[in-house]
Assembly symmetry: C2
Homo-oligomer: 236 residues x 2
């Protein structure tokens, strides 16, 4: 009937607005669809369920996260990569703070929406754990699966904490810095789990010597070199 490309966005907006006014359960898909100026069937072409209309971007964001994790350099420390992945999720919320805050109001009030979002975030968490698994030497995977799941859950919890605090305050200040700080805290506690291949270094002023066992992961060596260089350029 009108512009043909913004149906999805209009539906999301209508779903959130109407749910905030009358309540989520008291709002029918018919009402949402007609408020957005489309047919009822069109709603279900864009969203699998009524709850999905409130969180329309989790699908695409999950794909972005998994693609990022699949493409991450093996030279980087695993927990740092997972932290960046969490940052991707946070950025998605921060992209539209107003909508994020309105959504948050809804999820606090409607249990069905809370469960739906928990289901969505659990998929990120699973992606984190799967990534940590993949980074580990195949022989070690079974032994470290517990640590991976706990680490993934911890990063997800830190992300959720920062996100909720930010939303409660209205979406104003710098979220990314807070996430970095939170995950640094968590990573400090969990660090021992990810430093198995021990590395020793004997450094002088001019020469850097790194002594490591042959099976030491590359990212650990990179980490040692970086800390030994102390922020200065490593002489070529």
């Amino acid at each position: 009937m009108s512009g043909r490309r913004d149906a999805r966005r209009a539906l999301m907006s209508a779903a959130i607005s109407l749910s905030l006014e009358r309540g989520f359960d008291a709002t029918t898909v018919d009402e949402i669809a007609s408020a957005a100026g489309v047919a009822r069937r069109t709603f279900f072409r864009h969203f699998r369920a009524k709850e999905d209309a409130v969180f329309p971007d989790h699908g695409a964001c999950l794909e972005r996260v998994t693609a990022f994790l699949d493409a991450a350099s093996p030279l980087r420390a695993p927990l740092e990569v997972v932290a960046d992945a969490a940052r991707i999720v946070l950025d998605m919320y921060a992209e539209d703070p107003e909508t994020a805050v309105r959504r948050y109001e809804l999820t606090r009030r409607v249990p069905a929406l809370r469960d739906w979002e928990i289901g969505a975030t659990s998929r990120y968490q699973r992606a984190f754990a799967r990534y940590l698994d993949a980074r580990r030497d195949p022989a070690d995977r079974d032994r470290f699966r517990l640590q991976h799941e706990v680490a993934a859950a911890s990063v997800a919890a830190a992300h959720n904490h920062v996100l909720r605090t930010w939303l409660r305050e209205g979406g104003e200040p710098d979220v990314r810095a807070r996430l970095t700080a939170a995950i640094t805290d968590v990573a400090a506690a969990l660090h021992p789990w990810f430093t198995h291949g021990t590395t020793e270094k004997a450094a002088s002023d001019e020469v850097m010597v790194v002594v490591a066992r042959p099976d030491t992961p590359l990212w650990r060596i990179a980490e040692q070199i970086q800390s030994a260089a102390g922020g200065q350029n490593v002489p070529g």
Copy 2:
């Protein structure tokens, strides 16, 4: 029509069996009800939704967990109490291993059921975090909320890991011991977060002297006494 007291159990059993045969989505509530020998309406008197019939005990278990946490002695270390709370949940699964394994088969295959269970377990996790909050001095709560949420998530993740491993193996060996081991690992990493009120001790062979700041929590002092006693009886 027949015995009047076991409708709930019969419905749960029918729901799991039929869903394993034909698939969860392809099984209607009508079929479940008639298989259990009751009317369709009776199903919804016992369960809020079709998914609920597969996990009928989470509600009661959550009440047990929160009651346990509310009644826990302030002399015990917070992480130990939370570990015991997780044990309550694990015991509920272990009470009927066969059903638990069948349920697990279902949750692996049906996304709706997986999301439903994740929603249920998230409520335990919230209870854990809320308890850790309550244990903290009111002035410290805001500063430590991140740690509480991460700790709660970690314990929940450890529980889920042990549970899933156990279910995958068919439900045979000693689960409780594994949960203890897993949570011990986690608690070791998280321990620094829960030892703020520093305690120093100067011990001799016959006399025990505990030096602590006045605001040191009781459970920390108890912990110190216990470790100083080294498993022996503390002389009265």
